[in-house]
């Protein structure tokens, strides 16, 4: 009885770790804008600036899960807006396959997310993070791929 109550308490306290790979030209600037606009959103995401969402190798994502992330977000420019013209199209195709693979081995679909956030979309960035963190809170900690050496 007490354990159940404690577990419920823990579930409420659970703060998911999110690793967010943000493209330097759009999403990173978008997260900046969310900050300077003083928008309130959960502080669970660790931003990692990458030059392009197309430079995010599948192993970055798998490694993030391996090192204990509860969720991984990859965010880039909207299609057509890529600073390198087509990096986000490559990312879309590649990360689609990563997502399918994660789901196929039994990782919850909500643990990996991709979004397009432009430099002007501070509000959207805050919304993406908020949604993601809420979904992850419902899922609980990620143990499937987390390193257990």
């Amino acid at each position: 009885m007490q354990n159940a109550a404690a577990a419920r308490h823990d579930a409420q306290e659970f703060e998911p770790k999110v690793v967010a790979f943000l493209c330097k030209w759009c999403s990173s600037a978008g997260s900046d804008l969310a900050g300077v606009s003083r928008l309130k959103y959960p502080a669970n995401a660790v931003p990692i600036q990458v030059m392009c969402s197309g430079s995010v190798s599948p192993i970055y994502i798998l490694s993030a899960f391996n090192k204990g992330a509860d969720g991984v977000l990859v965010s880039g420019c909207h299609p057509g807006d890529c600073h390198y013209l087509k990096g986000n199209y490559y990312a879309r195709r590649r990360l689609f396959l990563v997502q399918k693979l994660l789901q196929f081995v039994g990782v919850e679909a909500d643990r990996f997310r991709m979004s397009w956030v432009s430099a002007a979309e501070g509000a959207k960035f805050a919304e993406v993070i908020t949604d993601f963190v809420n979904d992850l809170k419902a899922l609980g900690p990620q143990t499937k791929l987390k390193a257990n050496r």
Partner: protein, 344 residues
């Protein structure tokens, strides 16, 4: 199946005329039922060449290995290598060509069609024979397989003993061959593709998770799947780096700063990482020769991962690996119509 004499004659011709430096084919093995890969360098040796339902190995692997060997041996023999290739092997060769790993003039492809047949799965065969030791396997008429064993012979339906990849094979003939033996048979009698993947994808997330946990738990990290795959030709692998050398002068800082993407320890999480990274590396490149699964000593269904990505590539991106050496690879290309609705 295909008349073996024709292949022998062609191989002999190529070697006698000096057009190739060796012919890579199969000969009767000394251990077990399966035929073994053989480098034939003289015309006489081609008499031993065989082709029957026990020629399961993917010979494209030996093109990759031979290239590595040639690099170290400093040989000057630049003549091409003849290779006997089934449909799946020839697709593997096409992927190697597509990636500029080999050039087209470095190989002479003696393509053989499996026609309506395929290659046997020894695990299935042993089960069907119930302890009898098979000595010879050949195709009978109408999709039956005739197995000789000590003290007699048995006829089994091909469907029961063929390798799973052969049952799902869509093109059992080589597309890019210098010489083609056998008929290109389009219709294969074994049923639709991706049946195993489709059935597995239907199961619940918990079931899938438990299934893979159980399998990844068992992986002993022998890397046989990596060693046998013709597409796994990188000099440096993510699990064992060759560019980071620990010597007496390596400082603790240098060791600590090194990125360890995956540890080599055979624990569930690391095994899952290894197999997922492997599957991603093979996305759009795997030609489903099924060798990884065949050589796995603990029977991990590795083909399931690879064919899942193959199915996604086909259904979402209309991409089939190994069809055309000129087309861009799956993940070095994109279309405007690629799926976008999964992105928020």
């Amino acid at each position: 199946m295909v008349p073996v004499d024709d292949i022998r004659a062609r191989a002999r011709d190529l070697l006698q005329s000096g057009k190739v430096r060796a012919v890579l084919g199969y000969r009767r093995g000394t251990a077990g039922l399966l035929a073994e890969p053989a480098f034939m360098t003289t015309a006489e040796e081609t008499a031993a060449l065989v082709l029957d339902p026990t020629c399961v190995e993917n010979l494209a692997l030996y093109l990759v290995n031979e290239k590595k060997r040639m690099k170290h041996a400093r040989q000057s023999d630049r003549r091409p290598l003849g290779i006997v290739a089934k449909g799946c092997d020839s697709r593997a060769i096409t992927v190697l060509l597509q990636e500029n790993h080999i050039r087209r003039d470095e190989v002479v492809v003696l393509g053989v069609s499996c026609e309506a047949g395929g290659m046997v799965d020894t695990r299935k065969l042993n089960k069907a024979l119930r302890g009898k030791v098979a000595t010879q396997v050949r195709f009978d008429s109408e999709g039956d397989i005739n197995v000789s064993h000590l003290g007699g012979s048995t006829t089994l339906p091909a469907r029961d003993v063929l390798a799973n990849r052969c049952l799902e094979c869509a093109r059992a003939y080589p597309l890019d061959a210098d010489f083609l033996f056998g008929e290109k048979v389009e219709e294969r009698p074994y049923g639709p593709r991706f049946t195993a993947v489709a059935a597995f994808a239907e199961t619940s997330r918990e079931e899938r998770s438990a299934f893979w946990d159980a399998h990844f738990e068992r992986c002993i990290r022998c890397y046989a799947c990596r060693a046998v795959c013709p597409m796994c030709y990188c000099d440096e692998c993510v699990v064992d780096s060759t560019s980071f050398i620990v010597g007496p002068t390596t400082t603790a800082d240098e060791k600590a700063d090194r990125v360890r993407w995956i540890n080599r320890s055979a624990t569930r999480s690391e095994n899952a990482m290894y197999h997922m990274v492997r599957a991603m590396h093979l996305a759009g490149r795997c030609t489903d020769c099924g060798e990884c699964e065949r050589v796995c000593p603990v029977n991990i269904p590795l083909r399931l991962l690879n064919t899942m990505l193959e199915r996604e590539a086909l259904e979402m991106f209309q991409y089939t690996p190994g069809l055309d050496a000129e087309q861009p690879s799956l993940i070095s290309s994109f279309r405007d119509g690629d799926p976008n609705d999964f992105v928020r």
